[in-house]
């Protein structure tokens, strides 16, 4: 049903064989709405930066290609989900946070309160001093301790 083919070469790069028969190496998958609608609107962009294929819905792809795109996206998009705030060094900023995420425990520096972005009801995106983003999917679903700590910054 899809008019293109995807594969991975030995260098770990995604290779796209487009409908016109042209082969593009080092194709990158990008989500158009990473927060609002992560599974809709995925663009395959060539190494030149031009869009090659637009995938309206990830579910439309055949299984193996969906897996490849999924792997590619997982590599590119690193937004650890904060499951628990273990401790914060101070309620003033900059502040060192120790958190448990879905990718394990880590520490980061919050530079200022404005780095905590509200992106919807109870949903927070927290940027650290190195530009990495952490997601709090639902503020109200956190445990009491974490919520109390986080509340001091909101």
């Amino acid at each position: 049903m899809s008019d293109f083919e995807l594969s991975r070469n030995s260098f770990g790069r995604l290779v796209l064989k487009a409908a016109d028969g042209r082969v593009h190496e080092g194709v990158v998958a990008v989500r158009a709405f990473p927060i609002a609608a992560p599974d809709e609107g995925i663009s395959l962009v060539g190494s030149e930066g031009h869009e090659l294929v637009w995938i309206a819905r990830l579910d439309d792809l055949p299984d193996d290609m969906r897996r490849l795109v999924g792997e590619e996206l997982a590599q590119r998009e690193f937004v650890p989900v904060i499951e628990r705030l273990v401790a914060v060094s101070t309620f003033a900023t900059p502040s060192y946070w120790r958190v448990t995420t879905d990718h394990g425990e880590t520490e980061f520096i919050l530079r200022g309160e404005e780095d905590i972005r509200r992106i919807g009801h109870g949903k927070l995106l927290i940027g650290d001093s190195h530009g990495m983003q952490y997601l709090v999917p639902d503020l109200y679903a956190l445990d009491g301790h974490s919520r109390k700590l986080l509340d001091r910054f909101l």
Binding site: G12, A74, F78, H130
Partner: protein, 755 residues
């Protein structure tokens, strides 16, 4: 770098635990050249993986495994890295494919670059048999600046780590109080005197009771002379307390007002020093609120609340001393509720503080809506979104209300509780006092004096309890101000500044990289610019042209690599000194409120009228300025409302001409005007450009005809360099851009002809 036996096997910086572990792994004579610990694993979990480069191989051990993976070095082995969205990837590959991949957060970028550099020089040694020429000693892997001998960290790249401000922020205000310590001391002494004077009247109730009233009830005559003395003493104490209190309040109010003014000035001055990055991240409304209302709040706090509080504390201490001197037992009972109230205050303090901080932030939200909507009112009205904006404001206001309501629950309980405790305290004193009187331990006068004292005493406690909330408010305000003051500019002044003597205007960009947040905007860009050369920067929007110009002006600092002027790194030149040599003409020229002459002389306030006129003439602005009603003295509005786009632009060109810069930056200087005006501006620009190193960004390629070289940028890299003719001949990026614009221009012409 060869394995000389006298070299240690491990660098000193390597942790001892690693040494023990590697000792077993490495063959004898093999040296560790570079090492690092990346903090992510392949599936991007937070786990530590060690990577070690030694003479003949690359080793790596994943967290949780004991096995070291090893790759012997050979000529086809390559180590590459790239990053996206805050995650870096390090890849080892040979001709057949990828051998291994490591991931890391950008915190480790520097260490990764160091490893790659060591790897590459090792590879070169293996391939050619000769170690690569090390450029004048060690070089910082990040900014390519030479390192001082015996130092591993580059003084330019190492920045002062931001330390979190202390919790008791208000004490830091002392920095601003210090210049006024004389007045503060005088105020304190006056306060002591006036407080002591207020404590005299209750003391006098004792002899008034025991020596006059009670003897009278028992049938003795009233001694009018004694009464007169006591009453005079009462009046005297009241008058003294009034005079001293007036002097104290006046002096301390003056001082606190000055402290607040100094704080305001210091904050604004510090704010001006911060880099553009800071202003990009903050909303204008919030910054204005911080400097305006927060400092005002602090002033009120210092002159009113803090003053009252210190008076109260003094009063309590003095009262306690007097009470104990009269009767220790009754004093003890009287003061018993004090710790209880202190505890209660402490209990509520935390809740109130967080509450007030929250209110402040929500208040910022409300002002932000205003700051967004009012300047954008044309857009709001044009798209008929008034109701949406109204709703946004109502929501923010509602949020404000909800949080206030929640806080008021705690707050409203507070004062009645203190009053209740006061009543209970009085009750205890009455009960114990009556018992003591019945046992003839104390006189009625003493009990009356005690009741008079604690009557005042407890009302003070009540008002003291109010200090909790105002202190918290003030502390929250002080924190928000110190947040600004503590912010270290990301464009720091050099520790050991190098001064520019005669600037020729030669620029060198060496492997420059710039990252905005986690997005790489400029990558590995190198460019040499000769003195007096005119460079045209060309490329699609978003190709990094403006960012590059911002880097050259040092509005931001480069993330990697370095920019040099006359061979000196920009970061080692004092910022203001460097900017004096830069003339900047922007697409949207900003005119400050003031006369035309003042605007032209903005960069050189001491310029003579002749110089101003000469600059205006050269900028082709002279004639239109003369046409204005008051000539050079005409006032131009906040954004130069009275002038057209082209006129404003020529004023800003005159401004740049007047400071006679060696380096000139034209950022889309002619984009916002029509073709006719553009011609006029172009003539003005020609005068400006002559003899100066010029970097011009232009959307219309035709305006860059005079450039010596055109630099074509695409997605943060330079893709082509050459003159117009060369680039046209090579039919690359530039050729396509030019063709596209020509076609567009022709279409416009055709449309014009048809119409």
């Amino acid at each position: 770098m060869s394995a000389r036996p006298d070299l240690p096997r491990f660098p000193d910086s390597l942790p001892a635990e690693w040494c023990r572990e590697l000792d077993a792994e490495l063959s004898s004579g093999s040296n560790v050249l570079a090492w690092l610990e990346v903090d992510l694993d392949e599936s991007l979990g937070f786990a530590r993986t060690r990577i070690v480069l030694c003479d003949g191989e690359l080793l790596s051990r994943r967290a949780g495994t004991m096995q070291w993976q090893r790759w012997p070095l050979h000529a086809e082995l390559q180590l590459g890295h790239f990053d996206h969205a805050g995650v870096g990837t390090l890849e080892l590959s040979d001709r057949q494919g990828r051998l291994s991949v490591w991931r890391y957060t950008l915190e480790q970028n520097l260490a990764v670059l160091r490893l790659i550099k060591a790897f590459e020089s090792r590879q070169q040694l293996l391939a050619t048999g000769a170690a690569p020429a090390v450029e004048s000693g060690d070089i910082c892997p990040k900014c390519k600046a030479p390192l001082p001998p015996d130092e591993t960290e580059c003084p330019i790249c190492t920045r002062v780590e931001q330390t979190p401000p202390s919790t008791w922020t208000l004490l830091r205000l002392w920095r601003f109080g210090k210049p006024y310590q004389g007045q503060l001391l005088a105020g304190f002494l006056l306060m002591l005197g006036s407080t002591a004077a207020t404590l005299v009247p209750p003391y006098l109730t004792m002899p008034l009771m025991d020596d006059i009233l009670i003897p009278f009830q028992n049938g003795q005559q009233i001694d009018a002379g004694l009464v007169g003395i006591y009453l005079a003493a009462l009046l005297g104490a009241a008058l003294l307390s009034w005079a001293l209190g007036w002097a104290k309040t006046y002096i301390l109010a003056l001082v606190s007002e000055r402290i607040a003014a100094d704080l305001r000035t210091a904050t604004f001055e510090h704010l001006l020093q911060l880099s553009l990055e800071y202003f990009g991240g903050k909303r204008t409304g919030d910054l204005m609120a911080r400097i305006g209302s927060e400092t005002d709040r602090l002033s009120v706090f210092l002159s009113l609340h803090l003053l009252d509080f210190i008076t109260d504390v003094l009063m309590i201490v003095l009262t306690a001393i007097i009470l104990f001197s009269i009767n220790p037992w009754l004093a003890l009972v009287t003061l018993l509720p004090l710790p209880l109230i202190a505890w209660l205050i402490h209990l509520v303090r935390d809740r109130l503080r967080t509450g007030f901080e929250k209110i402040d932030r929500v208040w910022g939200e409300v002002t932000n809506v205003l700051a967004d909507t009012i300047p954008g009112i044309r857009v709001v009205k044009a798209f008929a979104q008034e109701s949406r904006e109204a709703r946004r404001f109502r929501d923010a206001n509602h949020h404000n209300l909800v949080i206030n309501d929640r806080l008021n629950k705690t707050w409203s309980l507070f004062t009645p509780t203190v009053s209740l405790l006061t009543e209970i305290g009085l009750l205890v004193v009455w009960a114990f006092g009556i018992w003591l009187v019945s046992k003839s331990q104390i006189t009625v006068g003493v009990l009356t004096a005690f009741l008079a004292y604690i009557g005042r005493f407890y009302t003070r406690l009540d008002s003291m309890s109010r200090i909790v909330s105002v202190t918290q408010k003030a502390a929250a305000g002080a924190k928000r101000i110190f947040d600004i003051l503590d912010h270290v500019s990301t464009v720091p002044e050099p520790v050991r500044p190098v001064h520019l003597a005669n600037v020729t205007g030669a620029m060198e960009l060496r492997e420059v990289g710039f990252r905005y947040g986690s997005r790489s905007v400029i990558r590995d860009l190198s460019l040499q610019i000769r003195p007096g050369e005119m460079i045209g920067l060309v490329g699609h929007s978003g190709s990094g042209k403006s960012t590059l110009v911002n880097l050259i002006c040092r509005f931001y600092d480069v993330t990697d690599g370095s920019i040099r002027i006359d061979g000196i790194d920009l970061r080692s030149i004092p910022v203001a000194e460097f900017r004096r040599h830069i003339g900047l003409v922007l697409q949207e020229p900003f005119l400050f409120f003031g006369s035309v002459a003042e605007n032209i002389a903005y960069g050189k306030p001491d310029a003579t009228r002749d110089e101003i006129v000469a600059a205006a003439r050269a900028a082709h602005a002279h004639e239109f300025i003369l046409r204005l009603p008051q000539g050079y003295d005409s006032l131009v509005g906040e954004r130069g409302q009275g002038l057209s786009g082209g006129e404003r632009q020529r004023v800003s060109i005159a401004r740049a001409l007047l400071i006679d810069p060696r380096l000139l930056i034209l950022d889309e200087a002619t984009s916002s005007v029509d073709t006719e005006t553009e011609k006029e501006i172009q003539r003005a620009l020609d005068n400006l450009v002559a003899g100066r190193t010029t970097i011009a960004i232009a959307h219309r390629l035709s305006t860059l005809r005079k450039a010596d070289r055109l630099v074509v940028m695409d997605r943060g890299r330079i893709v082509e360099i050459g003159s117009h003719d060369e680039l046209m001949a090579s039919e690359g990026h530039y050729y396509r851009l030019y063709q596209a614009q020509q076609r567009h221009a022709e279409e416009l012409l055709l449309e014009g002809a048809a119409a």
